[in-house]
Amino acid sequence: MLQDILMLTAFFILRIGVPLLLVIGIGYSLLQRFYGVKLDFSPKFVTGVGLVLALWALAAIAVILRFTDGLGAVTNLSDQFPLGLWIGFDVMAGAMLGGGAFVLAGLVYVFGIERYRPILRSTILTAFLGYVLLIVALLVDVGRPQNILLARPVYFINIHSVLWEVAMCVLCYTVVLALEFSPALFERLRWRRMWRLTHKITLPLVIVGILLSTMHQSSLGSLWLIAPGKLHGLWYSPLLPVFFWISAVAVGLAMVTVESNLSARAFKRGLEQDLLASLGKANAYLLAFYAAFRLADLAVRGQLGLVLRLDLPGVLFWVELGLGAILPAALLMRPQIRKNRDALFAIAAVIVACGILNRLNVSMFSLYSYTGPIYIPSWMEMVVTAGMFTFGAAVFALLARLLPVFPAEHGEQATVPAQV
């Protein structure tokens, strides 16, 4: 194992890293010498880009290996532990992080709360990119992706299969998200007819999007109901679909705060602090309800004793629920804290991290009680996941520059709240 890692790293440095650096270095010095080109990037930026590029190169190698030598060559999965990080993080958590889009779209379009409109587009874009990456991750993870590309699930329907339903909903919802975002594209291109068309159908699209989201967000939880006795008692509950839906809303909203803060820093734009604060307030109640509901469910199922144990599941449970729901709920109830921009950002980040942990708990760690801790993601799995994550962020940054994603840059919608 260690030998393999060393070999691969050595190969990577020799075959990819060194030549790449040579080409870039020689090319740059030539350009500088003959054309007087001088790039003026801060060293921090250059290191960052270099690291990310290296990550992507590694991820690309892992993906190629996966398609040539099979999943066994890249992942630590086995017959005893068939689903791992790519499902737990990229699919389960990825869908959850996009949950903010259907909530915000519903608030703005269905319930007419216009003041959330300024952060709507960036939220939809985040969700859309998240779902596209989810599908890409799935295509890497499944054994026979060609059968997905050949649209086999569309012809061969098994309405008993939760996975079939999830697949269909995710596919349709990704299209819906693309359509919901498309007015931004047509606005940039100044395509009047298309803009009008997509603008007109937005409301029905939003409603369909909410329905599709409700179905697949909850069904991502139902997926695990097929394995009674395999999941740990702290997580296996017939209410898993309900918990998944609630946490998708709560974590999705926290993700809106995280994403707004990050892009505010990256693009040096203003922050809709009062909007985020009001979302945080709503989230406080939602999280409190969620935590109470989870504990009540444990009590009803007679599993409450499990939370007192200080074994791995017990600790994971408390990190997930205590740090990720109860503490943030208590903090977000206080207006002084909500007003503080950094505090709000930090709390939201914690909610998001613990939300991700929840999905990993359900899909990976809770199975340990049945299989034993036989699966830890391989470094290649992690590299692919990290690569996709950063790739999504990069595409977001690019699109945010090219298209009218943030209202501040365009100015015309920023004053809408006044009309409500």
Binding site: L83, G143, F156, L163, E165, I210, L211, A227, G229, P238
Partner: protein, 305 residues
């Protein structure tokens, strides 16, 4: 007499399930549901082909394992022979007890009556055949491995080292041989009569008869009679099943019912939500008037007016 009562029991459980699923919701989908339930439980559990495995009669010769390898044209490595694998559809496992006692357990797919894997598979690549055994169609399989998660007995195996054409591998109960009127390869080559093939009804009767004839010898349990809602592979043993690596916490409820409980309610949730959202958006429109702006932003007069 045991067999009769057990069939009656499983029948009533089945009806109860059907009833509770219908009353729990999805009356709108009743047509779909009835046919779906029929599809997943359509084969009469009594006449489905089954195998009775009498652990007390097994001498561990592994003839079944070898004949399975030959019949299915498998090429296991020595490591793959240690347990079930993509190249080992059945395996004989050895259990040593104090006093020099040894038992051997043949393992393979249990061919559940209402199979978790078949219900989990999004494209019905794993499916229940007319006759009863659970078979596989690689041409539509996505390789999603959800069947592996769902199987209560951890049977399906995956070909981890194939890039684009990995298959799910497991015992198919020698469907082709059975259709041609032959016995499954393993049963045909068992020298001691530890493996016996017949209809499930017959074999359940026989199993209970054997237990009744030697009540002090056998454990009073037919593994597979109720496990996971009933399986086609039935085990009897003179050593408690828990000591032989059998999962004793498997529910007696058919596994697919656990997800169908939720799935069957979705139409109601979605329908209700759709009505609420439509109502809310109509109300919002009314309240806000025709604030809906159809002019593209770039043609609007300066905002804020």
């Amino acid at each position: 007499m045991n067999a009769v009562s057990s069939t009656a029991k499983s029948l009533s459980r089945r009806q109860f399930l059907k009833l509770s699923a219908v009353t729990a919701g999805a009356a709108a989908l009743a047509g779909v549901q009835a046919s779906a339930m029929a599809a997943s439980t359509g084969v009469k559990p009594g006449s489905t082909p089954a195998m009775l495995i009498d652990i007390s009669r097994c001498v561990g010769c592994s003839n079944c394992q070898r004949s399975c390898i030959a019949a299915n044209n498998l090429h296991p490595t020595s490591e793959q022979l240690q347990g079930l694998s993509a190249q080992t559809f059945t395996v004989v496992q050895r259990y040593d007890f104090e006093g020099g006692n040894t038992r051997f357990v043949k393992r393979q797919c249990m061919h559940c009556l209402d199979a978790a894997c078949a219900s989990a598979c999004p494209v019905s690549a794993l499916y229940k055949t007319e006759a009863g055994p659970i078979a596989y169609r690689p041409d539509r399989c996505l390789g999603c491995r959800y069947c592996m998660v769902s199987c209560p007995f951890n049977i399906p195996r995956f070909e981890w080292n194939k890039g684009l054409t990995p298959e799910i591998r497991k015992c198919m109960f020698c469907i082709e041989r059975q259709e041609a009127g032959q016995l499954p390869a393993c049963a045909e080559n068992c020298p001691t009569g530890a493996l016996k093939v017949g209809t499930r009804e017959e074999l359940l009767r026989e199993a209970h008869a054997r237990i009744a004839a030697h009540p002090r010898f056998y454990v009073d349990h037919v593994y597979g009679e109720h496990e996971a809602g009933g399986t086609s592979m039935l085990y009897i043993s003179d050593v408690p099943f828990a000591l032989l690596g059998f999962r004793t916490d498997v529910t007696t409820r058919p596994i697919p019912a656990y997800t169908w409980d939720v799935m069957s309610k979705l139409p109601w949730v979605v329908g209700g939500l759709a009505a609420v959202l439509t109502g809310a958006s109509i109300y919002t429109r009314k309240r806000n008037g025709a604030h809906h702006d159809d002019t593209p932003p770039w043609e609007r007069p300066e905002a804020g007016g």
